[in-house]
Point group: D3
Chain length 150, copies 6
Amino acid sequence: MSSFSHTDDKGKANMVDVGHKPLQRRSATAEGFIRLSEHTLNLIRENEMKKGDVLTVAEVAGIQAAKETSRLIPLCHPLQLTKVDVKTRVTETGVRVTAMARCTGQTGVEMEALTAVSVALLTIYDMCKAVDKEMVIGEISLIEKIKTDL
Amino acid sequence: MSSFSHTDDKGKANMVDVGHKPLQRRSATAEGFIRLSEHTLNLIRENEMKKGDVLTVAEVAGIQAAKETSRLIPLCHPLQLTKVDVKTRVTETGVRVTAMARCTGQTGVEMEALTAVSVALLTIYDMCKAVDKEMVIGEISLIEKIKTDL
Amino acid sequence: MSSFSHTDDKGKANMVDVGHKPLQRRSATAEGFIRLSEHTLNLIRENEMKKGDVLTVAEVAGIQAAKETSRLIPLCHPLQLTKVDVKTRVTETGVRVTAMARCTGQTGVEMEALTAVSVALLTIYDMCKAVDKEMVIGEISLIEKIKTDL
Amino acid sequence: MSSFSHTDDKGKANMVDVGHKPLQRRSATAEGFIRLSEHTLNLIRENEMKKGDVLTVAEVAGIQAAKETSRLIPLCHPLQLTKVDVKTRVTETGVRVTAMARCTGQTGVEMEALTAVSVALLTIYDMCKAVDKEMVIGEISLIEKIKTDL
Amino acid sequence: MSSFSHTDDKGKANMVDVGHKPLQRRSATAEGFIRLSEHTLNLIRENEMKKGDVLTVAEVAGIQAAKETSRLIPLCHPLQLTKVDVKTRVTETGVRVTAMARCTGQTGVEMEALTAVSVALLTIYDMCKAVDKEMVIGEISLIEKIKTDL
Amino acid sequence: MSSFSHTDDKGKANMVDVGHKPLQRRSATAEGFIRLSEHTLNLIRENEMKKGDVLTVAEVAGIQAAKETSRLIPLCHPLQLTKVDVKTRVTETGVRVTAMARCTGQTGVEMEALTAVSVALLTIYDMCKAVDKEMVIGEISLIEKIKTDL
């Protein structure tokens, strides 16, 4: 039966040794969603029309958060990201955030993509909280994870 | 019609001026959920029985993330938190995280509570990702927000 | 003859004691400039017309940098900023950045305003460096500094 | 006509993909200047004679800031610097700061050198602001940028 | 029997609630020692004579570390330090570091003073490690802790 | 006579150039000790029996601190750690902390191991300071340092 990689046989926390794994091209894409009221969605659309900043601030916050992942998640390894892309899309019921991260390294970048999505969603929450008391963040999951040899 | 507090009349990003608001006792509680497979839940319960660390690491990561909120969310004000509490509870289908933050300040602490929940959930995701490929993080929302005069 | 507040009588570095100063409302405004080529300025104007992000990313970076000031400047005191505003303006020869910071505290916020300006200018440099090899950052100075009793 | 590497065809912010570029030895040197009053310059010279710390604190702050570059500039890639050197030189009218950064990586280190210069200059500003109200920071530019194959 | 303030009755980690404590002037002084070889001590004395930087870099690192305390120690509250002072003194057998921290706050600053001492000592270790393989850091303890009403 | 690698011939601080050194597998182990009262040791043992968190929080803080080393120690190079392990052991007179760090890089990881030990010990100090006024941290030293060719 498979077991946690981040705990030893006594169940104690453990940063896994990735030192003997080969360098590979790693890519991961994650997404998530924030449910917003009709009123808030109209304000966001209006802000977009005025060339306003709401969604751009969220995207920038997501990119920066990807670079903070190993400082936020205690057992994550530091990685040198070669690309991060965070995109937002207004839907009928909220905003969907998609983040893609890439690196050449010894371990995967899914936590970086998931952290970017989470912080971008929190940033939208922050910017809309004065007008919307019913927001819910959810559906945060990994969409794709790829590794290819150099 | 109410509008965003974090954008000016041209829709540009803006850190709201809270300098003239009174100091008040502020408290906020948020929660969220990560859906896990039966197998993963059994491993977590077993880890708990062995006095293992999985949920403690998530709680500690959440507490620390609350203190990072204003660095992660671009338009958040820095706050001096006087208390943070993060708790995890294993359910039939996953783990529920609840976070409470408090400060005496000029603006609310809901973003701190929500950030603590989000990072605790990401930490659980990180520790379980070797054994569970179907995890989804969601239901992140504010449960309670209180302000009382000094 | 007046002398440095940040060094003791042997000339050694020293974080000044501000603990006995009264709490006051503090505000500071700083500005700076980045000289750009005609070609780069056209690209920035075009980006603005497309609702692009160049100047917004710089403004967000400046706001976030203001919150990092006491971590970047060794003898700066940590402050709880109550407002930060960073604005960019395209001129005939480059981009002018203005930043305003406010707090209620025991020491001034000019370093926060100056740090916001500097990092916003560096961010513009970063985004334009693929197309402009002649950029110069300068004219960074304090425009106004105000303190008022509570 | 060349265009911004950090924006996509809609003008949206974008951390460029450097994952397919070869590892190369990268080096960059930047400089900048802070204009100081005669009185302040005399105090700095006197501090130097007393083996005081003013310029050393600025140099250390610059070295540390170089390591923070990817956290301050939103679209900068994280890099593993192999060397940073920051030097200050008192002139007739102020202090000139020169910074050199090196790494073996897939993208250049000019932003690291420029950030080191900017933060060293801000640190001098901070240490002199009690005695000099006319300081101006400027002339921040790239002096040299080298890449060589491994 | 007195018990830990940082754990609840189940022994789980807990950031103590200090929100109802009065604001007081807080001060703490800590010290520590690094044992060095005769050869290393001679190099440090020579560096001092040349107006070199070894001990200044350690003092600056200590001041900056004091400001990082709540980010390094998971259950520490964020504080607004009003003063930090770190001093080093070469003895017959090593270097003694003393750090003093002050704030006006609801909880003490001993962890800030102890963290400043620890990081200043680690910085000396780092700068001497090429020449001294027998260094030991120790005797880190609190010397004095004061609180006075406003 | 050997001299400091981190200072130039004028004794000025200097981040050593490691860019021409080969990539090697690096490993370092450090340890340290905190002396605790009989009463405090009993509380820690009791906390362990209740599956409490005191020592786990210290271990997690140590792992995270290892990743912060180059930000705390001014002349340390940034490294991509591939493994960190921090363990605590209750003795008759206190708690012993051992930390091991590994990377594949151009310079050693002893500062990372020593920083992990120091911050884990400070975290124990923080959690026990309400009940123990006589704690002393010491005996922090390097136990082993290994480099092997790839």
